[in-house]
Symmetry: C2
Subunit: 312 residues, 2 copies
């Protein structure tokens, strides 16, 4: 079987709650809303691609605990193939408790490492990886990720990287990457540059053909051999920003699969990410292609003289 | 079947984590330790009694979700009878996420109401309630609690109350109560008294034969027709105070079942509560009778000139 996108990275179980305000230590506070959803950078990007209509397969390690079972069930429900998943007996999966503040949508994440061992390159299904048009990585399971990237490189499969962590091998992985999409704080920490254009230049020098820095409510900055441009974010009523970056990655890969230019791809990715933020959790708000198209059409109608899109 | 203690109240599933420090909004913080345990004031008091060697039965409503199943399994494991539990189809159980700060043991609780309907007095097993020597209530399921208290009163079954909530019917329930044990903040809010001796007097005037106010790290204050006395808390290395009050109630009922005087009962309850605080969660640290006896014996040996017990 062939897939548009194969992703290798970490999977998590996210518990998500909304509180009226951020509490002090030693308080009891009632949550206004509560849900649980699968999470993880590559994992949620694949769910995004799947909702948009692409075929996807997830590779990673999960425990055989209740959380692991929940994570696999969510993939199944979303149509993400899990034939490359390694289930570790007696191990627990990564768990996160994300609490969002009602009025700002800003969230604090309490997380707990799982007890799964690291994914060994020997546990990889090479055939599965080479079946993809795109390989998506998040820097977790770094040894396996580098092995997979090397195989993909030789076969000219495009490699997209979302560096969620920063192990010593990160530079090696960036050098293997075709499309590098990083959050602003990673850009600052890794390049020691406060100016995002300059940070993008530095990443570009490592070899990727496209570098994107995501800027949260400010949108994104893209760098390619054609130069640098920025795209503002869409203004929406934010409920929760959990997973906004993961979803942006999925949408960006979707644009590349469709052969769109970078401007259209960036605009589309901003839209998908904005729609996600209108619901609690990393995945509940991920739109279908039809929903994105309707959103974009409505934004064109409402485009004000400032050039900023507004959506109610 | 007859039970030493039948309890009627709320059950919860507690997720418990430890963080190195209390985070700001919009941070990601790794938990140092994580566990999940059953919770709820009466529920945890019954587990305490069961570990100490008394026979107990829990009455309450739980959902048939994963949390509800976990709650029932924990009761089973602890030897708490659940023949009076009503399981509601399609409903979710109360859920709490308790985060304790490493150095202080102080915790913040994010909680979410379950979707179970209120327990109806018609759903009560009267026979089961009248089989008990003590009936323990926490103010949840207030209509059923008042009905149960009225039945118990007529048969001279002793009623112990831990007011965890404050519905309009609370005064009626306090008037039916024999042993009222309240946390300090409830004492202040209910009586509008800052002086705990005076607050205890006010509660005593409603009819209970014993009134206890728990004072956290300061121990407890007891009032009966013989007068008022206080008992200092034991100094221990606190990991988490979640459930310290619930456990105190269970231990206090144990002392009354044994026919101990109030001084010995208060001392014993302080000891059980202190031991609980040395582990994460409301239940993990609840000691057996032998462990309490060993702790108390070691404290007598270490008793300094200040009269304060120390335990390492």
């Amino acid at each position: 079987m062939r897939f548009n996108v194969v992703g290798l990275g970490c999977s998590a179980l996210d518990y998500l709650g909304v509180v009226p305000r951020w509490p002090r230590l030693d308080e009891k506070i009632e949550m206004l809303n509560f849900t649980r959803q699968g999470g993880g950078p590559v994992a949620t990007a694949l769910v995004t691609l799947s909702r948009l209509g692409s075929s996807t397969s997830y590779i990673g390690k999960v425990g055989d605990d209740e959380a692991g079972k929940f994570i696999l069930k969510e993939f199944e429900k979303e149509g993400v193939d899990t034939s490359g998943v390694v289930i570790e007996k007696g191990a627990s999966s990564l768990f996160a408790f994300c609490v969002a503040e009602k009025n700002t949508g800003k969230r604090t994440i309490f997380w707990r490492r799982g007890t799964c061992s690291e994914l060994d390159p020997k546990e990889l299904n090479k055939q599965l990886i080479l079946s993809a048009e795109f390989l998506h990585l998040d820097g977790h399971e770094i040894k396996a990720a580098i092995q997979a990237a090397k195989w993909a490189k030789r076969e000219k499969i495009k490699i997209v990287l979302d560096p969620d962590v920063n192990p010593p091998e990160m530079e090696e992985l960036i050098r293997l990457t075709d499309v590098l999409i990083v959050p602003s704080n990673f850009a600052r920490d890794f390049t020691k540059e406060e100016n995002y254009s300059k940070a993008a230049e530095k990443f570009f020098a490592f070899g990727p053909e496209v570098v994107v820095i995501t800027l949260g409510e400010k949108g994104c900055l893209c760098k390619s051999n054609k130069g640098v441009f920025t795209r503002p974010a869409f203004k929406v009523k934010v409920v929760d920003t959990t997973g906004a970056g993961d979803v942006f990655h999925g949408a960006f890969i979707y644009g590349l699969l469709r052969g769109w230019d970078l401007e259209k791809t960036a605009e589309f990715s901003n839209a998908v990410s904005a729609l996600k933020c209108m619901e609690l959790g990393g995945r509940a708000g991920i739109p279908t292609l039809k929903q994105v198209e309707e959103f974009l059409a409505s934004c064109v109608q409402n485009k004000g003289p400032s050039g900023l899109h507004r959506f109610k």
